[in-house]
């Protein structure tokens, strides 16, 4: 479903991803863990086309995201090409990024109506189903500012799902939340992982959650995959010293 092939990403002199290779199968749930600055967010932002690769290629669902054919030559993707591939991907941000000028319901219907071409009725019905799923059906008429952080994040998840993405990117979606609000959001995500076949790429520091939902955990450091394994193996018996150190540091922090 997702394939990174020798992807290099730099910010100035700072090489963030160094010839990164990895693949994700359709429907797979992959957690990305690693120390701060190791490039986890950058990977998701490249997939969401919020950043561009410096070299290498990214494929999503058999289509190349980073390049396109132009007059028989392979050239960097232009905005039009990016638009077509981007539609299959959804993202949930650490800071929610709901549209504060719209009510909750309109946050969920805007893109389905404008991008997928649903009628307003269809879009609203689907939005209410999704709000039901995240436990917020009765807040459809609220403004985002009237919701708690945890509620806003659940709305943001519903908003991403309203676009029927094949791939869902989640970047530390609970780290801006008060501790008592984290569980509700994680439960919603577990529910999605269980009941849909959406491919999920999850950056998280919640190791218990990763253990529950991940098919595979990738440990990153300095823009490379240090180690990858099923969560049961990686969390209890990692091969690399680097992974052991990182997991110990995370456990101590809590």
């Amino acid at each position: 479903m997702i394939r990174f092939d020798k992807v290099v990403k730099r910010f100035g002199d700072n090489v963030v991803l160094r010839e990164l290779d990895f693949q994700v199968r359709p429907g797979e749930h992959v957690c990305l863990i690693g120390p701060s600055g190791s490039g986890k967010t950058t990977i998701l932002r490249l997939l969401m086309t919020l950043e561009r690769v410096d070299s290498g290629t990214i494929d999503v669902g058999g289509e190349c995201l980073t390049h396109m054919q132009h007059r028989g030559k392979r050239v960097p993707a232009d905005e039009k090409h990016l638009r077509t591939v981007r539609k299959r991907i959804g993202m949930v941000f650490q800071q929610f990024n709901l549209f504060p000028n719209m009510k909750v319901l309109q946050n969920l219907t805007e893109a389905p109506v404008r991008v997928l071409g649903l009628s307003r009725d269809q879009a609203e019905q689907r939005a209410l189903e999704l709000l039901e799923m995240v436990g917020l059906r009765d807040r459809a008429d609220a403004h985002p500012s009237q919701l708690s952080g945890g509620q806003q994040q659940r709305v943001a998840i519903a908003r991403a799902l309203a676009m029927h993405p094949d791939v869902l990117l989640l970047d530390e979606v609970t780290s801006a939340l008060d501790p008592e609000l984290v569980a509700d959001v994680l439960n919603v995500l577990k529910d999605i992982a269980k009941t849909t076949d959406i491919t999920m790429l999850i950056v998280t520091h919640e190791m218990g959650f990763a253990q529950d939902v991940a098919d595979r955990v990738l440990m990153f450091d300095q823009g490379r995959v240090v180690e990858q394994a099923a969560p049961g193996k990686l969390f209890t018996d990692p091969d690399q010293q680097r992974t052991r150190d990182f997991l110990r540091a995370v456990l101590e922090r809590r």
Binding site: F93, N97, M163
Partner: protein, 220 residues
């Protein structure tokens, strides 16, 4: 010449001064609408992906901001006719003041647009929203409330600068006062009343804008 304040004289000139007030308010309103609309267009052109367009816009804004409104008023009224565009004094004045202030409101809009958090743009990208909707449904609805106080302040400035149009024969408040004063050789009453007219609208408008500023401040 009688130095004492004469209410009879006031009653005599008041209708003309009120007619002048109407012209001033009209010129301000029309000029402001032009300044709000054109300012937004300039702000968007300034952000254009096409370098020539954004550079030309930048140059235009800088030229206008570096030259006096009076010159723009004379320019529209006296120079444009040579290119076959002849406008009435009031229309010329409105066009000049509207374009002049558009170059200031453009800056206001730019700041308002820059004030919308980057995450809002990124959410739009993540949802594949088309560019037009990004602006009309997400960015501008968040940027414009923040810029209303600044637009209000510029509107008050415009109101006070309309008298410059007297230079091309627009009979605004000051124009009417000047006429009355030169006909009767009495200057105290017309200019005092003219001043009061300005005060009577500018001051409450200023209070309103400051209240708006506080509300917008809270909203953020």
């Amino acid at each position: 010449m009688n130095d004492k304040w004469s209410w009879d004289y006031v009653a005599e000139i008041l209708p003309d001064l009120l007619r002048g007030l109407l012209v001033t308010v009209q010129a301000t309103a029309l000029g402001a609408i032009l300044a709000y609309a054109l300012g937004l267009v300039l702000a968007l052109l300034r952000r254009s992906q096409i370098p020539v367009l954004s550079q030309l816009t930048w140059a235009f804004i800088e030229v206008i901001r570096s030259t006096p409104l009076l010159v723009h008023i004379y320019f529209v009224f006296n120079v444009l006719p040579q290119f076959g565009i002849t406008l009435s004094p009031l229309t010329s004045g409105v066009l000049a003041i509207g374009v002049h202030y558009a170059c200031y409101t453009a800056e206001v809009y730019r700041a308002g647009i820059d004030g919308v958090p980057r995450g809002q743009w990124e959410a739009c990208t993540a949802l594949s929203l088309p560019r037009g909707r990004v602006w009309t449904a997400v960015i501008l609805p968040q940027a414009i409330p923040r810029v209303l106080p600044a637009l209000g302040n510029y509107t008050i400035s415009m109101y006070k600068e309309v008298p410059l149009m007297f230079a091309i024969g627009v009979l605004d408040i000051v124009g009417r006062a000047q006429e009355a004063a030169s006909e009767s050789f009495r200057a105290v009453e017309p200019y005092t009343i003219a001043g009061l007219f300005f005060l009577a609208l500018s001051y409450p408008a200023g209070v309103l804008v400051r209240r708006l500023e506080r509300r917008v401040g809270y909203a953020q």
